[in-house]
Symmetry: none
Subunit: 239 residues, 2 copies
């Protein structure tokens, strides 16, 4: 069945055991694309031990210092959160998030923050959607690998029966996460030239609103090119 690929991105994981257990969880559900962004301790014997028979997933995992590298080429980024609401993006339950992800026209990144604190604001700003696993309000301390297991399980469950063909496959490929990051960079630069930021030292709140807007629109490649062209035309006129 043709369907989006799912990439698991673990951002700044503290405990190597969780990396190994996440690799095992992935492999049980048939997933193999693992990215480790700035893990605190890796490689580590504890990771290998907890991976059990899934050391091949660990061995083929890619490591990077920045999130940009790990998200490159992904057309949809879904971040995990423990909160029910977020300013940065809509919060979906796992089943809805997976259904959304499976309609994507290219690789999808599922992003997990560090164990204690979760995703940083900068990482949240990269997400088109957030996913929250429903938990006990009195104890939401889901282990990182357990969260990977639950979401990977939902992914696999969605593979089991024939998918209802909901969304029409877009003819034009979507803009990738790295293209969108470039677009936001260029947009911020142009707004700065226009003296548009009320507080030039803190463009983040306004940029976050704009990112949320354009993430929601889920630009395709041509739309991305048009918008970059407009930004380029504004910049040229200002020189």
């Amino acid at each position: 069945m043709a369907c989006a690929d799912l990439r698991i991105v673990l951002h700044q994981t503290s405990h190597p055991g969780n990396i190994g257990a996440a690799a095992r969880a992935m492999k049980t559900m048939g997933l193999a694309d693992l990215w480790l962004v700035a893990p605190q301790h890796y490689p580590d014997p504890e990771a290998t031990a907890r991976a059990s028979g899934a050391t091949d997933v660990l061995d083929s995992a890619r490591c990077s210092a920045s999130l940009d590298e790990a998200l490159a080429g992904c057309v949809l980024v879904i971040g995990t959160t423990a909160r029910e609401r977020h300013r940065s993006a809509p919060v979906l339950d796992p089943r809805t998030a997976v259904a959304q992800a499976r309609t994507a026209a290219g690789p999808v990144a599922l992003l997990f923050g560090p164990e204690r604190i979760g995703l940083t604001n900068a990482a949240l700003d990269r997400c088109h959607y957030l996913v929250r696993i429903p938990t006990n309000p009195a104890y939401g301390s889901l282990n990182l690998a357990a969260a990977v297991q639950v979401l990977a399980y939902e992914w696999r469950m969605a593979e089991q029966p024939a998918l209802p063909s909901g969304g029409r496959p877009p003819k034009i490929p979507p803009a990738t996460a790295d293209e969108m990051a470039r677009f936001y960079g260029q947009l911020e630069q142009v707004l700065r030239q226009l003296d548009f930021f009320i507080d030039a030292d803190n463009p983040t709140p306004l940029m976050r609103r704009l990112k949320r807007l354009f993430n929601r629109a889920a630009l395709d490649r041509e739309e991305y090119n048009i918008l970059c062209g407009i930004l380029g035309a504004i910049a040229v006129r200002k020189e």
Copy 2:
């Protein structure tokens, strides 16, 4: 919502760490009724460590030498299996099994066998149904606590009211059709000033694409104001 209670029964578990991790998995999903039948090592510091903040579930867990005691009072017994078919009982997927369990008129036991070998034939014979978590045919080695997590998650999901798709609480009113018409008029004017239209006599095709993009994003009032502000800033600079 009135509904059956779920008891987690771990039969002859080998590794105390798995008992602790299972307790944590249960508590995150709001479950507290844990029975340990003839665990190989328990109590054990490894169990306590892996339980993290769920030591209360461990502390209130009941231990017994026989399965009979642990299943006493349960009106439905569902055993976990890694096999797709069984002679002893129908094999359900987790979602179906949970739906079945929730219709029970009394406590339901969810039974997990020892890590390596799974439920004994004697234990299988106690089960009304079996549940199989779908796994990678090449690697079905689901950790015991991970299996508890997945099934407890399904139980909790069945308790949740479905999120409205999109999950975005519309606190800010949407931009109206006439506001959007003004925005598109302003956008066309600015693009004209920037000499952005390849064919200045026919801006319609490009404008149509941009309208489609922004309509898809379904701007709210504040986003509309921000975008109009940006267009205003570009126009002022050009004068």
